[in-house]
Every structure is written in C-alpha cells, then in structure tokens.
Amino acid sequence: MNAPHLHLILNHVPTIGSAIALGLLLLGLLRRQEALTRVSLEVFYVIALITLPAYLSGVATGMELEKMPDVSVEAIQKHHDGALVAFLLMLFTGLASWLGLWHWRRAARPSGINIGIVLVLSLLTLTTMAGTATMGGEIRHPEMTLEGAEPTAGPTWIHAASIQSLVTDHTWIWPSLEALHFIGLWLLFGVVLLVNLRMLGMMKSVAFSALHRMLPWAVLGLGINILSGMMWVIATPEQYMSNVSFFWKMGFLLLAGLNLLYVTAFDEAWQVGANEDASFGNKAIAFGAIASWVCVMYFGRMLPFLGNAF
C-alpha cells in the first residue's frame, strides 16, 4: 500500500466520521442521554486523531499527482489549502472534546459551555471538511461539477504555500519550532510517564484521580507538537513523505493518542484509588502507552538516519 492508496481509504473518515459524531451529539442532547453525548465526544477525539494520517497521506498524494501531466496543480493546491483549514478545525474540535471528557470525568457531569463550543466547532469542521472533500474529488473527477457551475472555491485567507515560505524564508522559525517541539515533548511525556507509572504500581499512595488533573498539560504539549510538526511537514514535505521513520512515528502516535483517551475518560483507570493496584489489563495498557511514546520519540529522532530528512 502506498500513500495515495492510504489517502483514498482515509479521506472519507473525517467527513463521514464528524457527521456521525455530530449526529450522536445532537441525538444525545435532544434525547437528554448523557451516555450518547459522551460517546460523541469520544468519537470526535478519535476522528481528530485519524484526520492526522488523512491529511499527511494527502500531502504525499499531492506530491505524486503533481508529477502527472493531466492534473491541475492549482486544483491540488486549493484542496491542500482547504484541507489545512479543515484539519485545524478538526484538531480544535478534538481538543475541545477531549477537554469536555476530562471535565466530565472529574466533575461527574458535562460542562454546558464545553458542549456548546464542541457543537459550534463541529458544525464549522463538518462544513469545511465537506467543501475540502469536494475540492479533492474535483482534482480527478471534473464530471462531478454541474454543467455551467464553477468548481468549489478554496480558502483565500490561508495558503499552504505561504506557510512554506514563512518557515523556509525566516531563519528564526525552524529553530523556534525545534525548541517548542522538544519542550512540548517533555511536557507531554512527563505527564504521560507519571500517569502510566502509577498504573504500573509506582507511587501507590497517590490515587489515579490526583494525577488525572495533570493531563491537560500533556494535551497542551501534544498540541504544541502537532502544530510545530505540521509546520515542518508543510515547509519541507519531501523530507517526511518518503521517510519510513516518519510513518512509524505517526503510527505509534495514533496508538499513544488512543491511550490518552483511555486514561482520560474510561472508568477502569479512574477507579484506581490510593494504595490500590491497577488490574493486569490496565498495567498492560500503561506499559503499551509508555512503549508507544518512546517509539514516537525514537522514530522522530531517527528521521535523518533511518529515513532521508535533513
């Protein structure tokens, strides 16, 4: 399987997935079923995670398509610009959903403001995602445009090419992103290590719920790293898109991201009290999470050595 094949599989997930999650959210609110609302937040978070490989495989596909003589480079760039906006909106929807789940776990009730924010963000995301999907379709399927109608317009206020020039033309941006990426990493890994080591049996006198309140710091670190990493990928896609180390890094990042959802929202982890042992299953998940984050760091560090970056 190559990147275009992967993109063809994944590119429907953000649009259809966010429509399903939004449907669940609306249904939960209308029927006043909190369990349904909570599931919708979990689905938004998972869809936001899957949007990352959908976007990255799209960048790789664009690079392949640009080599073909009968494909409009302008249409590809327009789709990329739309995807960038849609990805950022999906990222913020995922972060807001995660924050809602974190609050819900701690307060044992949902936050009305948070649900409102997720609802607005998800509506924006779905609209933008649907437009982006249409632009993607128009690249190879001009027959889908109605006769006499103009192709879908891309965003005018943000362009991937502008971000590329911004990063490559200013010498201070790359090292600033490097510094922030490393600080984001230790913020994230520090908290993840604490939470998962507790699950493995260390710091037994501390209840899991006491460490749970640290999780937003980990997610802030993750946010810094996704944004800084995205800027590098947009600036120099050729360093990442044919880099085996980068694909392994992204794979482990998805696994580690799922663990973050588990420790945030699931009952099994939350119920581990002071001086209590976590179950074998929880310990296995904690070990897997630490291993996944170590692999994310390892393959990130190996980008120039196993792959072709820098």
């Binding site: 924050l99 701690r106 307060a107 922030l180 006491a210 309140r213 710091w217 802030l220």
Partner: protein, 36 residues
C-alpha cells in the same frame, strides 16, 4: 537582533501563553473537583 535572541523571545512568549492556559484549566479543575 541575533538569531538566538529572536528564538528565545518567541519560545518564551509561546510558553507564557501555554502556561496561562494550563494554569487556567488547573484552576477550573479546582472548582469542579469531585475526586477528593
């Protein structure tokens, strides 16, 4: 301004923003905490 100075200023500014958001969320956790 040297490259090191520019990078330091940018990084410190971003960290201040992240710190403010992080502490605001932590304060918010105090108000709703039922775990104790």
């Amino acid at each position: 301004m040297s490259l090191a100075t520019t990078v330091s200023i940018v990084v410190i500014c971003v960290l201040i923003v992240v710190g403010v958001i992080g502490f605001a969320i932590d304060k918010y956790a105090d108000k709703t905490d039922t775990s104790a």
